[in-house]
Point group: C2
Chain length 345, copies 2
């Protein structure tokens, strides 16, 4: 490997420039049509979101320069949000002559022509239109890797999920002293964990918002119940899709839910609702500050995906149902969580 191109110059795409540059790769960062300002400002000073300067060796490309950004690249990282995934992946395919190995950092479900699906499933459908009969070389990246910390060299364990034979060798080339990589073949498990933890991290956030004022630091028994229930439900969903419970119990599940529950955008989204905002107000407030509450989108998309693919599972997902009722059906947060406790046994 000599050249890596990252698509998407938000938090995660930009943070990946650090370990990739540290590996000695030639790194290119392309910003989408929403990122032109981020790219422009990153040329002059710190990346506006990460608040540190990107490595000096990173080449920056604005949204008009996709072709140049891809030219000669050996691998591509998809660093866009779940909403941006399909349109950006289509543009990527439009400018590529031969299939490139794709590593996706996108967490969440994605929509393609009105259908909600796992990212890798949507990507495969698009890939086959462009390269009929070929197999995509695909890796889903999960694990507890907050971008803000990755950009500062905090030890960060990623999980690379791929069925490609080359996956292990590539992972070996991308490891640094602080960016650690475990590999697995459970693409469905890693992808679902990455999407679902954004939904479930809203639950400890709700707890924070509801109780932080009244009993600061003293409702951990309750948030621990919600955390453990989230793991239980993620096992149900992942197993339903043919993935492995081990994935949920490892870094991609427990690990990523842990880090997301401590802090981050989805925890904050929950906390704002817990403090009294409606979900729409919370989403808007964050959006206006440049923060995307992906868990809110993943909740809506995940609900549709479950209804379409695993309708029988919803009975086993009381926390998911409660979060959906709070987030999308106007149910009161505190009463809904209390009901969950009452039904707990």
């Amino acid at each position: 490997l000599t050249t890596a191109t990252i698509l998407g110059a938000g938090y995660m795409g930009s943070a990946m420039t650090f370990p990739l540059a540290a590996c000695g790769l030639s790194v290119r960062l392309w910003g989408t049509w929403l990122d032109d300002d981020l790219i422009e400002r990153s040329r002059q000073g710190p990346h506006p979101r990460l608040r540190v300067r990107l490595p000096a060796s990173v080449a920056l490309y604005d949204s008009s320069q996709l072709e140049a950004a891809i030219e000669g690249a050996d691998i591509v990282f998809m660093g866009v949000s779940s909403e941006g995934f399909a349109p950006v992946f289509e543009r990527l395919l439009a400018v590529t002559e031969k299939p490139l190995p794709v590593f996706t950092l996108t967490k969440g479900f994605c929509q393609l022509e009105g259908e909600v699906s796992r990212t890798s499933v949507a990507a495969r459908a698009l890939f086959e239109r462009k390269f009929p009969g070929r197999e995509p070389v695909w890796t889903s990246v999960g694990g507890p890797v907050k971008a803000f910390e990755l950009a500062r060299g905090v030890p960060s364990p990623a999980v690379y999920a791929s069925v490609s034979e080359s996956a292990e060798a590539v992972a070996g080339e991308l490891r640094t002293s602080y960016y650690r990589i475990r590999t697995t073949t459970d693409v469905a498990g890693v992808e679902l964990c990455s999407a679902l933890k954004n939904v479930y991290a809203i639950a400890p956030g709700l707890c924070d918002g509801l109780y932080q004022k009244e009993m600061p630091g003293n409702y951990h028994n309750f948030s621990s119940l919600l955390f453990t229930q989230a793991i239980r439900e993620m096992v149900v969903i992942v197993a339903g899709e043919g993935g492995s419970p081990d994935t949920v119990h490892g870094l991609a599940g427990v690990g990523d839910l842990y880090v997301t529950s401590q802090s981050g955008k989805n925890q904050r989204f929950g906390a704002l609702i817990g403090r009294g905002m409606t979900p729409e107000e919370a989403y808007r407030t964050m959006y206006d500050e440049g923060e995307l509450a992906e868990g809110y989108l993943a909740m809506k998309a995940g609900s549709r995906w479950l209804a379409g693919n695993h309708p029988g599972l919803l009975d086993e997902l009381p926390l998911f149902r409660a979060l959906y009722a709070i987030g999308c059906e106007g149910a009161p947060a505190e009463a809904s969580l209390q009901d969950l406790v009452a039904g707990f046994v």
Copy 2:
């Protein structure tokens, strides 16, 4: 059930008076010879540790009144520390005519005549001396239940582990709107989780101490790695003892480790070391404030227990080994954790 006696008037024993009184039981709280002051002060005002008044209906007994505290009780809760377990259990046996169902809240390994063992194993040995040929009716209580919160009615999920036929029925009688109980037959699993989480919660505490100043709130990728590794190692140990990985992945394992990692005495013990104290200094500092860093004791006892019972497992427990090296062999905290990351893959 009409009468419950709790032995030990520290955090957990005293907090249990709340749900038991809420169930309509006649509740007696007996303090050990270390607790006379706690009992005395709880007669006049708030419990000194919990900082709330105990329910008015609770009868208080000082260390000289064990016989009266036990007289006519239907069940006994052991609410003493792991160090106090064997001596208090021996006293209990000395004053009982017939075997009483025992529920133990004690978390940790215990020592009996120089031997380290699981609490239920030591208890059985003592029980058989007093009641040869009889079966003890035993329940190990685990799960994410911080005493401070339980005393304030925060929803708290306990796990009751017992092989007794009556366990489910008793649990049914002890549930309240906020004290929820799941039952299992995996006594070894619940007991080991309860002991080990105190050891492993030192790890996120070390992270807090090492990095909180420098990057407040921004080393969660690293603590998440440690958290997930702890779960992995708890599975190794529990499975080695014939317990179930499901126990580790549920409330007694993940749930209790989650709550303990967020706050509590063992997290604090780790944080003090991370900020520069030696383990002995940290232990003493806390001890002088009336706080017992049980994880430090459990680390030493657990190490002896592993060496004696499962010496082959230590190879699979790099985090346990690192914590032991930091806690008991003078290894530097930051370098030891960094080594762990390097060995992570």
